[in-house]
Point group: C2
Chain length 283, copies 2
């Protein structure tokens, strides 16, 4: 997915939000915004938004000197999610269709996002999402492909959401390789977050080699690209992975909540809608 | 009032909104945003927001080649407001305190704004504002000063709001000089807008000499500054005039709706609150 003009004010908003978490020094924060401003002419609209996000959060890191401003927020999200974990398991156990419920839970966890939509109340939002039906719903194709597959490549999104992912992984009954980011960016999950969420007990955890809030294949490790090219089922969580992979003709199932108006428009859904979309199928 | 960090993403949002009204050419709009980005380092936080607004809307004008992108919207606002005019007069006639009601009407008109808060439904919002009591309310001082004054300097804000101003001017029962902007900027009123609103029948209309969406004294004409320095009652409508004059120790009464979170915070009120504040009095 390309960058839309509406993304540009949003980059500044995100940079401001992240910088304020990193520092109280107004001059430094202004410097972050200045630098991003000066970089604008070099950011073509053909870039995917996470390509620019990578640059934006890199500037925040460089100017504030804080490598991982969201670390505390990530730990807090994981703690909150772990508290919910038993009730999420109960939900799956009580449901008619365990897999379908687990997918909805995994998508519900996608509300944990300090980039596109930082004001959320986890428990409340989870309840809302669980009551929603996906507007694009390729669940049948997903189940069919899952039955035929030997191995699943699972592209993670945010820390905390990882706990919700675990609930889904536990229902897939197939070996899973769980892929996190290589370096801190927004509240995207790193290896340590996956481990804190207990993912290492149910899947192999690797990094994509990429430090963007998405999966930019040209910036990923050879190891990851090998997995990606040979996978016969890929689960892609969240907007950032969708934004960077939406043009790939691979058996990818995008599971996300359309949190920003631009992604919603791109998918042809409304902001707030949830989506389970096959990359090989029209909406 | 200074520029806050939150103003910066908002400048880009406003530039995007204005550019889209001026042109469909995405490359041109991107160029507007690029140029504003490159100007960011030269915009100190000590500037008042309208000083930057002046630069931002200047870039929109220069890059798109459209001198007054909001002209049609302004005409539409005036038309809508003129339709409401008879019912506004009826409201004043039916009220216990004509002056107080006319002030509330004038503040209600301040909702017409394509800069800070472009999504409004005029009639609905007017109703809402008329039911609200000002959170800062220096009405008593205003009435006292009005009784003692010979002449009122009235600083206009937006086209369409001008019709609501006319209702207030008709209740002031004193000579009024009504001041509009010198050049098109956002939907701020120009001489032609004042005339279309019938202000010329109830007041002298002049321009401030300033092309910013506010009143930057250093950029105003000598004629206006003379009026300003000698006035013993100044009515200042809207955020832009407040943002540029809030440090002046003059008998100014600010009448506005706090439409953006930054102005609201500066005034110590909530977003959406209405304010009638004397510049010589603490809140």
């Amino acid at each position: 997915m390309r960058t839309y003009l509406d993304c540009i004010p949003c980059f500044f908003k995100q940079a401001l939000f992240a910088s304020r978490i990193a520092t109280d020094d107004e001059e430094k924060i202004k410097e972050v915004l200045n630098r991003i401003g000066m970089l604008l002419p070099d950011i073509p609209l053909t870039n995917s938004p996470p390509e620019t996000g990578r640059v934006v959060y890199g500037v925040v890191r460089e100017v504030t000197g804080i490598d991982d401003p969201f670390r505390d927020l990530k730990n807090e999200s994981i703690k909150k999610a772990l508290k919910l974990y038993p009730s999420l398991k109960t939900m799956v156990n009580a449901s008619d269709d365990r897999l379908e419920t687990a997918i909805k839970i995994a998508v519900a966890g996608n509300i944990i996002d300090f980039g596109a939509s930082p004001n959320f109340e986890l428990e409340k939002e989870v309840e809302v999402v669980l009551k929603k039906e996906p507007v694009i719903n390729h669940f049948r194709s997903f189940r069919e492909r899952l039955n035929r597959t030997e191995h699943i490549l699972y592209l993670a999104d945010n820390a905390g959401e990882t706990v919700f992912d675990r609930v889904l992984i536990e229902e897939l009954s197939k070996p899973v390789t769980y892929v996190v980011r290589e370096r801190p960016v927004i509240n995207d999950a790193l290896i340590e977050d996956a481990v804190k969420s207990g993912i290492d007990k149910v899947a192999d955890v690797i990094t994509s080699g990429c430090d963007a809030p998405g999966t930019i294949l040209e910036r990923c490790s050879k190891e990851f690209c090998n997995y990606f090219e040979n996978a016969d089922l890929i689960i892609s969580k969240g907007q950032g992975n969708y934004e960077t992979l939406s043009n790939e003709k691979r058996p990818i199932f995008y599971m996300l909540r359309a949190k920003c108006p631009v992604v919603a428009r791109n998918l042809g859904v409304k902001q707030g809608d949830i989506v389970l979309k096959s990359g090989l199928q029209a909406a």
